[in-house]
Symmetry: C2
Subunit: 325 residues, 2 copies
């Protein structure tokens, strides 16, 4: 049968809810249950199932590997939240605050290993390759997180460096979710690689759009106060582009705000946005996003499988690009 | 050929030195290079190679899995050092002090994944089982570390609980190193299980002996100030046994020292040792160690392989039990 994204998400949700992690030690496994239960859209594992289904593979055989990806993703959130000193995750208290930092480190560690164990239940014919794809990607995600932390301490980041960072931190796991699904579905190597490119470019487009929404999203729909990245001096694609395209005067204003302390946040957001507007940053970034989006769709086009089997992925990518604006 | 333990250690050392981890990001991979270069006896991976060799398996095919075990072991040290706020590891600054805590978390994370990747290079016939043995054990090691942290906050720990904790935290990884080696060497399931029991019981004996050496070891040979566990209120097998066997008066003295603050460490060690001596704790614990040691040797005896192929493991276990006292 052909699953829809929503059906795949439900399948994963049910599968996750049925996993029985050990009761003891509670300090180790309670946070695992907690972070897996406070939501998340299960996009990555659902894409894994859809990719498998697309090549008429047995979706059942992809359930454990898809679960592995979701557990790994949540492990990265758990450890990132420690490193970023975040207080909230999906509107709930982060693990290192609800318990403590040691608990967050160790329960994250066990999640990373549990993910490996779920992946190791892939069918024998693709086991080594699927494990390797997963582990290689997992390493890249760590590299991306390290780059992200490095960039926070740097004054300038080039567009190329930034794109590489979001590719590693965000896009490759989406890409690998699809590729692993395709491998499990018995896809030809070329098609699995094509799906990887689809996911990678879509993932980059998605992350860039996140930057855009922070400044230009409808706060009613986006659900966040606009301009938080500006307040926090985040080196988003908007700021990177603005610093590159600004004239001396505009650059001085931007740099003043980047160095300012004790400022009125609303004033900072308004004045930085004014310069963004002068420089038509929104247009520039939208063009960049469109390019990545177009590349991703081209990969889908080239995929050697009947068009009706791709419709769910076309719809998904379109939905992602149209979200909340 | 038949390797000696020393030869196996050298093989591993050379293999580790030849691994080229990526240069960038340096904050991610420098700590990996650092912790793998500041020593360690490479006992676990060497045992893995010996076990493989014992069944006339190709030691070459065990090099990557053995490396995985050593990398995993060092990952646990790295993260344990954060959680325990340790300042020194093998006489060198710990990673979270030499760099910072975030670097220690993330480089530990990547080591855990790298370990999984090295293990995933095991030969196809045993790949899934070897991966699973490794990952199951890795999860147990996390459980052991959590129990260890829990016990620190508790007033009393039973002998049974303590033995379970050291089994998980220390013994199962030694056991799995041997079992994985045996699996790679083509051993029958029964023999692999026998080697696991050998390693598990030897590992427990080793850890209990560590407790004993802290109080009764020759400081010249042991290289540590004696009685540090007593000063730190560690719930070692000595203290657990003493609290169980003490009469009311002795128990009161021990509990006073456990609650004391601002004391003279030498006086505390001397008075606690006096009670240990009154209760013949050294004898009781030596008997316990002998029992585990005897169990481990029995497993070796039962192993279905020519005696000369086991001689290195007999020698190793004897050496471990006779060390520094």
């Amino acid at each position: 049968m052909m699953y829809t994204l929503a059906e795949a998400q439900k399948l994963i949700e049910k599968h996750l809810a049925n996993i029985r992690f050990p009761e003891e030690p509670g300090e180790l496994y309670d946070p695992v249950r907690y972070i897996l239960s406070i939501g998340g859209k299960r996009i990555r594992p659902a894409l894994c199932l859809l990719a498998c289904d697309m090549f008429a593979g047995s979706v059942d055989s992809a359930l454990h590997p898809a679960t592995a990806i979701e557990i790994f993703h949540n492990f990265t959130l758990l450890h990132d939240d420690i490193m970023d000193r975040s207080e909230l995750r999906r509107g709930n208290e982060t693990v290192h605050l609800k318990w403590n930092e040691n608990v967050a480190i160790l329960s994250g560690d066990v999640m990373s290993i549990l993910a490996g164990r779920f992946m190791n239940e892939a069918p024998g014919a693709v086991l080594r390759n699927v494990n390797d794809e997963f582990l290689r990607t997992a390493i890249e995600v760590c590299e991306g997180q390290q780059l992200d932390m490095n960039f926070e301490r740097r004054l300038t980041v080039s567009e190329e460096e930034y794109l590489k960072m979001i590719e590693l931190k965000t896009a490759v796991l989406i890409a690998a979710s699809l590729k692993i699904g395709a491998m499990l579905g018995g896809a030809a190597e070329r098609d699995a690689a094509e799906l990887y490119h689809f996911g990678k470019n879509l993932g980059i487009a998605f992350q860039l759009q996140d930057d855009l929404l922070d400044a230009y999203g409808d706060p009613e729909v986006f659900g966040k106060k606009p301009g938080m990245d500006i307040v926090d001096n985040k080196k988003t694609i908007l700021m990177i582009t603005a610093l590159r395209e600004a004239d001396e005067k505009q650059k001085a204003v931007l740099n003043n705000w980047l160095k300012a302390s004790g400022f009125d946040p609303e004033q900072k957001v308004a004045e930085v946005l004014r310069i963004f507007d002068e420089l038509r940053i929104k247009d520039t970034v939208e063009t960049l996003i469109s390019n990545y989006y177009r590349s991703s769709v081209q990969s889908l086009d080239q995929l050697n499988t009947p068009r009706e089997r791709k419709s769910e992925l076309y719809a998904f990518s379109e939905y992602l690009m149209k979200r909340e604006r």
